[in-house]
């Protein structure tokens, strides 16, 4: 599916690749009663991406485009249908079952996830101290002085003084503070990779940037590589070094954030950027930009999955899945429009 795994990328951006996904595919089978044909929701199909040390990679897409599934696959919360996950070049896809618990735990220590809803991801009947102590103990980072380790964690996420927060319950904290606690809990494992699944979309507008700036600060100080999943392409431009755009389970475009947002190559990315609210737009111009809606993933359209909505669709788009075409400087688009340019 992704025959051309971009070698050019590693040439231009020199930092080391920490976590790499190659051809990730996830099908969720649907059980229909009285039916012998096996159907499946093709949620993620051949997604390849690389997370680099000290870099933020944004994964942008509409709801249902499979971006959260990619995060869960990378966290190994779902078994893969096919594809490979490599941590520092080694295949780490964990098998299910008893014997593999230890391997999974070792993986978790290095790759941690932050969830969207800080109201649901903390246990309401336990204090912040309990949450963090548990994370430290499980991952063997308790150290000699537990109190000091706890205070360090909270200081890292700018919840100071620590003793003001340690014995609080989640309901006593605001949404932003809760998300900071969730980040602190992820940091308790001293991971190399953070997978942040819409970390700010449940938070109030005025405190979103505080959390994003905190994550960026952590990235710089701890050299974390962060996968930032979002539907808001403007925040991807603000926060991420690289941006990857997904549509209907496939990666359609990727590259440097500034390039992807300022010179979008794929028609879908162009549509996404045109649709973002823009107060500077001269009134409401009546241009019939995007029509239609994302396709069903049970029987996705053949060829490029975007072709039914694409204003530039050609014959080849209806039959053949476009590979990635390189556009220079690590920018790529999976669209037949760039066949000549890349050749």
């Amino acid at each position: 599916m992704t025959a051309e795994v971009a070698p050019a990328v590693s040439g231009t951006i020199s930092t080391e690749i920490v976590l790499e996904a190659d051809g990730l595919t996830k099908h969720f089978p649907i059980s229909a009663p009285f039916s012998r044909t096996k159907k499946a929701v093709r949620a993620v199909e051949g997604v390849s991406l690389q997370l680099r040390r000290g870099h933020v990679t944004a994964l942008v897409g509409e709801s249902g485009s499979g971006k959260s599934t990619v995060a869960r696959l990378l966290a190994q919360l779902y078994p893969l249908t096919s594809g490979e996950i490599r941590l520092h070049g080694q295949n780490v896809a964990v098998q299910r079952g008893w014997a593999h618990g230890r391997k999974f735990k070792a993986y978790c220590r290095r790759v941690q996830m932050i969830f969207q809803d800080p109201f649901a991801s903390l246990n309401p009947v336990h204090t912040i101290r309990y949450h963090l102590t548990r994370a430290l103990t499980i991952h063997g980072n308790r150290g000699d002085d537990l109190e000091k380790s706890l205070a360090d964690l909270l200081t890292r996420v700018h919840l100071t003084p620590a003793d003001r927060y340690l014995d609080r319950y989640p309901h006593e904290l605001s949404g932003g503070q809760r998300q900071r606690v969730a980040i602190a809990r992820a940091l308790a494992a001293s991971p190399e990779v953070l997978l942040a699944d819409e970390p700010v979309s449940m938070l109030d507008v005025s405190i979103r940037l505080g959390v994003l700036n905190l994550l960026r600060d952590l990235k710089e100080r701890l050299h974390l590589s962060i996968l930032y999943i979002t539907h808001d392409i403007a925040s991807a431009r603000y926060f991420a070094d690289e941006t990857v755009v997904m549509y209907a389970g496939q990666v359609v475009e990727g590259g440097d954030s500034e390039k992807v947002t300022q010179k979008p190559a794929h028609p879908y990315t162009q549509l996404l950027i045109e649709s973002a609210p823009d107060p500077d737009r001269p009134a409401v111009e009546e241009k019939d930009g995007g029509s239609g809606e994302p396709p069903s993933l049970i029987e996705p359209p053949p060829g490029c999955r975007f072709h039914p909505r694409c204003p530039f669709a050609m014959d080849v788009c209806r039959t053949d899945v476009p590979p990635r075409f390189e556009l220079g400087d690590g920018h790529f688009a999976a669209c037949w429009l760039y066949r000549e340019e890349a050749a």
Binding site: D204, L272, P277
Partner: protein, 329 residues
């Protein structure tokens, strides 16, 4: 100046009764003019939805409207106070004159009834003397108005996508040709592409049918593009109100300014953004003076002592902030 159609004066809304009551909306004044889109922006918990339900008397207990008046200007030039009308009179007015599109179309449509039944129900209840055939024709017309093929009339809600369901909700709200449509976060659950399609449809319809819209959302950048005037709410109060372009270009209240700086831009230079430090206040323990002063980067001494009042200033703007005392006179 255009005609006024809906005026809210000094509206207070509480949750609970007696000394434990929490005041969610505090002394709000708003004016909606004919044919205008008034944006109501604020964070969650700022009281924007409570305000909308309070002024239409749709607030479920423990919500209580504690004071104020909501003046509606009828076609014949007379005015009525929605908060003091008899229930029967209000029932006639609702939907026919003031319609609401609720947040989350998935929860607002009945899953076991076809959308045709739900659309025609409204017509049956409000327009006496209509025949089933005429109702069905009208339902088809309404669907095509919001851009849904009329052969979807007999679909169940689960057969439609999120965007189409939201369009059905808008069609329902417009069924009786109301003059005021209140939209509570109409596109929050939708994707940007679908959101833009729906808002475009809505703006087009407003021009054709000439209704006014109160558009409630937390997304200020969306309002700046789609509304004529914006009122910003913080902790139950309107802190600033102005023409969209003015508010976007020169916000006067530090909160509006901070809110605008909380949205990363897609175009132009990449700037460092800070958001607003702290978090919105707990309505049970409101700070003294201006509710925003603990988070305000430009707070003065007077801010924690006296509550600034929303007052008209030059250029048809109003702001409740001690930095702009001219406005308070």
């Amino acid at each position: 100046m255009k005609d006024r159609i809906l005026e809210v004066r000094g509206l207070d809304v509480d949750y609970g009764l007696g000394p434990d009551a929490v005041r969610a909306v505090r002394d709000v004044d708003l004016t909606l003019h004919r044919g205008e889109v008034l944006g109501l922006a604020g964070e969650s918990g700022s009281g924007k939805s409570t305000l909308a339900y309070g002024m239409t008397r749709l607030l479920p207990p423990p919500g209580v409207v504690a004071g104020g008046e909501v003046i509606y200007h009828l076609d014949d030039g007379t005015t009525v106070d929605l908060l003091r009308m008899r229930d029967a009179d209000l029932r006639r007015l609702r939907w026919a004159e003031i319609a609401i599109v609720f947040q989350g179309a998935i929860n607002s449509l009945n899953p076991v009834q076809r959308i045709s039944a739900q659309l025609m129900d409204v017509l049956k209840a409000h327009s006496a003397g209509s025949t089933p055939q005429s109702r069905q024709d009208r339902a088809r017309e309404l669907l095509s108005l919001v851009g849904i093929a009329s052969d979807r009339l007999h679909s169940y809600p689960h057969q439609l996508s999120g965007g189409m369901r939201q369009r059905v909700m808008i069609a329902m709200a417009l069924a009786l040709e109301p003059r005021v449509v209140i939209m509570d976060e109409p596109t929050t659950a939708l994707d940007v592409v679908v959101q833009r399609q729906i808002l475009r449809t809505l703006v087009g319809l407003r021009e054709r049918l000439g209704f006014s819209v109160v558009f409630i959302t937390h997304d200020l950048s969306l309002l700046a593009e789609f509304s004529d005037r914006i009122a910003i709410m913080y902790a139950g109060q309107v802190v600033e109100e102005a023409v969209s372009a003015d508010l976007y270009r020169t916000p006067l209240h530090p909160y509006s300014d901070g809110l605008l700086r909380s949205f990363p831009a897609l175009k132009g230079p990449r700037r460092e953004l800070s958001g607003i430090p702290g978090s919105p206040p707990d309505l049970r323990m409101m700070p003294s003076g201006c509710a925003f002063h603990p988070r305000c980067p430009r707070a003065l001494d007077v801010c924690d002592e006296q509550v600034p009042v929303l007052g008209q200033s030059r250029d048809n703007r109003s702001v409740a902030c001690w930095l702009h005392p001219v406005a308070v006179s």
